[in-house]
Amino acid sequence: MKRSLSVVAFACLALGACKRDGGGAGNAQGPLTLAGSTSVQPFAEKWSEAYSAAHPGAQINVQGGGSTAGIKAAQTGAAQIGTVSRDLKADEKSLTPIVVARDGIAIVVNPANPITDLTLAQVKAIFSGQAKSWKELGGIDKPLNVITREEGSGTRGAFEELALGGSKVATSALVQDSTGAVREMVHGDPAAIGYISLGLVNDQVKAVKLAGVDATEANVVAGKYPLVRPFLFVTQGAPTGTAKDFIAYVLSPAGQELVRKEGLIPAQ
């Protein structure tokens, strides 16, 4: 009994150690660590894969933790690059921000919904739970079925900050844990409304205009569409070494093309 326990315990420890080790040893320059926003994480992983393929021997660790954790990591030096999916706050300006991509957030409804245009005030009323029926917004006589993402989601965080001015989505909203699930739900319910990343809108759902502005990449680039969040890399001082090289790759046409394919909007 005791022996088997210790065997199991040892196996677990060994596994844990392997996981933590993930590409540690070797390399004179040491590994490059990116930490922060979970929204940026999948794209940072794409970049790091492509960069590593072009630079054998380069070691890049991509970690999550959230935008605030990314800022802390950059400040304390735990990561050379912090990743952030919102604008920097006043007390975070000591870091050097580099916009690496942008992401629009589209408000989506069922294609059968006659509503095509909402104001930001209406969006706020809908998602904070003040508006109850589509009728109040000039639509069909059906209760609003608001769909949101789960707590901790980067998309939700950015949406609350940009569209709701920092207040929370009403607790009566239905919660789905992925963009796909939100889209599926809006697709299946004529009275549903949700928000998803602009790059992930397809013909299952209809993106509404915000205050008359179409939710398109062109309008995001032109700065007309209001719900846009930047994806930032932040560094303590000017980046050096591998970090500098990596950022240069990310901003290069090849790096930017990579995120465009994934549905983001290039930085420039």
Binding site: M1, S4, V7, G64, E151, G152, K168, L174, E184
Partner: protein
């Protein structure tokens, strides 16, 4: 010599299962306890606000959610499952039984995501159109779970019914009781403890189910007021937010797991307690027996 070696090896594998359980327990307690301590157990269990990013961890809406969904599932699943078990164990001709029993066992093998998908595609829109509300709801989750727990309950109930000695039935029929009277007044009471265990295990299954529930329950963190209201269960809370959670938020999810773990453990112990003493002619209700066993254990 060889036999001894094999025995040792098998023994070790068997014990490693216990080891894994112990490790899981230690792990979730170690991860979850700090938040429980910081928030206070009472506040964590009975707090109505779940705002993990602001450090407010109250899982009361989820406890209520798990409870109502489980009760709903039992209300739908138990009568059907018991009826089914009675038919299969007592009334059905052997050939029908040979076909039906494996079919029901097959039901248990369908992945839960498939049940959830059926719920999303068929049940949720139906509820939205005919009963109102957003669609994903307590009712949708209860129906799906009710169906999902049936194979568990049916299987164990059939075993319990078949364990009742033939002589009981023969005696009853000899005294002039009809077949139905025999089932109702002799077989069912004799199999009671096994049937109770079946229901409790079904309950544990309903409480622990995650995927199908996330798909059809709507997951709003709110105490539901109607069966058409959306609801979030304890398991759904953990699975939904695990992906992005970090720091205290992640630890709060582990604390949710502790609560779930305790509830499921209690249910399973209750089930094995109910099963351990199969045929004692006693009219004492189950909770009295549980209390009795506890006090005996304490002495």
């Amino acid at each position: 010599m060889r036999a001894a070696l094999v025995r040792r090896a098998l023994q070790m594998i068997a014990f490693s299962a216990i080891g894994v359980l112990a490790l899981i327990t230690v792990f979730i307690v170690r991860e979850g306890a700090p938040v429980l301590y910081k928030t206070g157990v009472g506040h964590f269990l009975f707090g109505g606000a779940w705002r993990p990013l602001e450090g407010e961890f109250g899982i009361w809406p989820m406890i209520v959610g798990s409870t109502v969904v489980t009760i709903g599932a039992l209300a739908i699943g138990v009568p059907l499952a018991l009826a089914c078990a009675i038919v299969l164990a007592e009334l059905a001709p052997p050939r029908a039984r040979a076909l039906l029993k494996p079919t029901i066992e097959l039901l248990a093998g369908i992945p839960s995501v498939v049940y959830g998908f059926m719920g999303v595609v068929l049940l949720v829109p139906w509820i939205r159109e005919h009963l109102g509300g957003p669609g994903p709801s307590v009712l949708a989750a209860s129906v799906i779970l009710g169906i999902m727990i049936m194979p568990t309950i049916i299987g164990i109930s059939i075993d319990a019914l078949q364990a009742v000695p033939r002589s009981y039935r023969e005696g009853s029929r000899a005294l002039g009781a009809t077949e139905w009277q025999t089932i109702r007044m002799v077989v069912l009471p004799a199999a009671r403890s096994g049937l109770v265990a079946a229901v409790i295990l079904g309950m544990g299954r309903a409480l622990g189910e995650t995927m199908a529930v996330i798909m059809v329950a709507g997951n709003s963190v709110r105490v539901p007021h109607a069966i058409t209201d959306p609801v979030r269960t304890l398991t759904a809370n953990i699975a939904l937010e695990m992906g992005y959670a970090s720091g205290d938020h992640a630890r709060a999810l582990f604390a949710t797991a502790i609560v779930l773990f305790v509830i499921v453990m209690a249910l399973n112990s209750l089930a094995s307690l109910a099963r351990r003493r199969p045929r004692r002619r006693t009219r004492r209700p189950l909770w009295r027996r549980a209390l009795g066993a506890l006090s005996r254990g304490a002495r």
